[in-house]
Amino acid sequence: MGLWIMAGVTFREAARKKVLWLALLAAIAFLTLFGTGMHFQVKNFNTRAVPPFIRYQAISAFLQVGFYAVDLLAVVMTVLTSVDTISGEITSGTIHAIATKPIPRWQVLIGKWTGFIGMTAAYVTLMFGGVLLVGYRIGGVVPQNPIRGALLVFLECVLVLTVTLLSGTWFSTLTNGVIVLGLHGLAFIGGWIEQIGGFTQSSSLVTIGIISSLIMPSESVWRRAVFEMQSPVARSLPFGPFANATAPSAAMIAYAGAYLLIALAVAIHHFQQRDL
């Protein structure tokens, strides 16, 4: 089926363009740095006989920093690899040789989407698994619900990917990148505003935060992932970079899922309709 051919090509493209290998190299560098940091923190705790409870909390927080970096890298990687795929091929005319083949256009789009999803899944698995391994082997700590956390980060990436493809059926590559990163930035700031609002009990700030999450729910999914992976004690902390004064609800995750599916449907519809 055409869908799988396109998925395969998309996957192969990343490998050929060296993007995948550079990302892998960056991942190894990141994990090495992270592991070294963790190692020295543990060594420090050992010499000072820190109580186990504090030690556990500190290493958990360290682990959260690692997951935070993984999340950011994964989102940026997703956007950078997929931003050019539809828009660039329309601009260069490459799409003409594909869209005139006996394959419906939706299969071209879904095929590319599937290829990028495969790549994102591999990337998130590697990075998330690496951080988990470092936390367990060096720090001796396993976060709460790590699988659920990884799946949520994966969902966030697929969401960003889908919005990138949707925008790519309309706009040029550069505009597409500005739109998607702009939306993610909005969600990011909105998330912080919501947290500050929750901490200071300002309902208007919380409302602004929720509205921004409705416009682009990517950051909410990440904050839910943090919430899932936090220890009960950390969850009770009122405010901090990885605390959640107001953790996004399960309804918000369902909203993100629906958002993704609708974005995909609109992308398919528009790509089917538009002149190439």
Binding site: G2, I5, V9, E13, R16, K17, S92, G93, T94, H96, A97, I98, A99, T100, K101, P102, I103, P104, Q273, D275, L276
Partner: protein
């Protein structure tokens, strides 16, 4: 005649359009395009830049949605996906993923056309050989010259042995050898029984290869010609003769619409090519010594200029 009747059945048309139209915003790209291309024909689609040739082809290939009218290719609506299994297309300025090698590109396009891997194993090297890229089979497209890209583009359009092939400016960027190759490929397709729709503004190319041409201007077909026939009014006879009397020249008006004498050179525009013997007999009977009597077809370029210039007010 029975013969022509069967030929005119709709199924014998590779392309049929009726009042096909495309409007981009306020700009009319194609207006009321009505075309008929018979199966097995090499069809030249001519027109100046911006006449709407590429838009018309894109509509026939389902890349662009018509604003109005009807288009059928190989008996199916132009937006039918399944019919594309029988259609090949070389876009203008062929480009593809620069990281693919020539072999990989052809395999990919073959698979996209629904071909089996086993049949591609023989087909791909044969095609690379045909377009002269066999020594570059492992080279990446990113390292290809414009002419090489055009050649590999031609190969991908033919990989599945399509019944109908659209070539959009196939010789652009090609050297004389490449042009020769395109010409040979087109002829080979005709022998195979395929229909070729050639979009071009290179008139000499079209003149050599095409059976039928249509002239597009401002999004409309303004004229079409069968290049295999010698239509009346487009042939003139150049004669070289001595002892031509004024009466003899004047008497030619019986068969000719225009006569021009310049020394020994006489140019005649006959009403019909069946009049040639009568004209010659008339000249000899009038006492002229005829050294040369050559029917000449109007070159496509002359025709193009005549048609395109007609109502330009120049």
């Amino acid at each position: 005649m029975g013969m022509s009747k069967t030929l005119d059945q709709p199924t014998n048309f590779a392309i049929q359009t009726q009042n096909l139209r495309k409007i981009f915003g306020s700009k009319v790209a194609v207006r009321n395009l009505s075309l008929e291309v018979r199966r097995g024909e090499i069809f030249g689609f001519l027109g100046p830049n911006g006449a709407g040739k590429t838009t018309a082809v894109k509509m026939l290939l389902g890349l662009v949605k018509p604003s109005g009218g009807r288009a059928e290719v190989l008996g199916a609506p132009s937006d039918d996906v399944a019919v594309r299994r029988k259609i090949g297309f070389l876009p203008e300025d062929f480009r593809f993923y620069p990281w693919l090698t020539a072999t990989e590109l052809l395999k990919l396009h073959g698979r996209l056309c629904g071909m089996e891997t086993a049949s591609l194993r023989q087909r791909v090297p044969a095609l690379l050989e045909m377009v002269g890229l066999a020594p570059h089979r492992g080279k990446r497209l990113g390292d290809f010259s414009k002419g090489m890209l055009q050649r590999i583009g031609l190969a991908q359009a033919l990989i599945h042995e399509p019944e109908l092939i659209f070539l959009d400016e196939p010789t652009s960027g090609l050297d004389p050898m490449g042009r020769r190759l395109v010409r040979d490929v087109i002829r080979a397709q005709r022998e195979r029984g395929a229909t070729v729709f050639l979009n071009s503004h290179l008139l000499s190319e079209v003149e050599i290869t095409c059976d039928q041409v249509a002239f597009l201007k401002d999004g409309e077909v303004v004229a079409s010609r069968d290049l295999r026939a010698h239509p009346d009014g487009e042939v003139r006879v150049l004669a070289r003769a001595r002892k031509l009397s004024t009466e003899a020249v004047a008497g030619l008006s019986r068969w000719s619409t225009a006569t021009h004498l310049d020394g020994e050179r006489l140019s005649i525009t006959p009403r019909s090519d069946s009049d040639y013997p009568d004209i010659l007999r008339h000249l000899i009977a009038a006492g002229a010594d005829v050294f040369e009597f050559t029917p000449e077809r109007l070159s496509l370029e002359d025709l193009f200029m005549k048609i395109m210039g007609e109502d330009r007010g120049l």
